[in-house]
Point group: C2
Chain length 105, copies 2
């Protein structure tokens, strides 16, 4: 039942890691680990569900397609992204892992 | 759209603070701020929904009625509590605020 978002972080992280913590018909809660990762060139997330995203550790820059500026998220910062609001990760901290909590609802 | 779990923490905290970040028919996401607070003597949370609870900063001890030991949660630790699993906060760090993210689903 108890877990830690900081457990099981691999020393090498060639790809981002997405771990489902819990999932029901209506909601999915996920831990994401990034280290210097960005979304592939030209790629946009376009999701069926709303997404609440929280940076627990590290930092990252998110681009919302309809907004001019990159949204910089640091520890404790969150963003609520509506369904089908296209977005991508422009950058994540290259010096340490960025730990995200994502709630899709 | 963007917010921080660490913004708007009052210097004095006579009562715990519960801030709804977003709420739909199926899910509610909430920030909770505690500083040395415990649930009232004899009180148990008994909730209609499942609850995912994450300690983002600080630490606290949760008692699940059906379990013998207090579950100690520190930064990054989470607990998934099923609907109607009775639980209470036995203690929260008295020296600093404890910031929780709660997802009721």
């Amino acid at each position: 039942m108890k877990g830690s978002l900081f457990d099981g972080i691999p020393a090498e992280l060639p790809e981002e890691i997405f771990d489902t913590i819990c999932s029901t018909e209506n909601v999915k809660i996920e831990r994401i680990i990034s280290r210097g990762h960005a979304s592939p060139e030209g790629f946009w997330y376009d999701q069926e569900r709303n997404e609440f995203i929280l940076v627990v550790r590290g930092s990252a820059g998110l681009k919302i397609e309809s907004e001019e500026n990159i949204v910089v998220l640091r520890s404790g910062d969150y963003l609520n992204i509506g369904a089908h609001v296209k977005h991508r990760v422009e950058w994540a901290d290259p010096a340490c892992e960025t730990i995200w909590l994502a709630v899709y609802y």
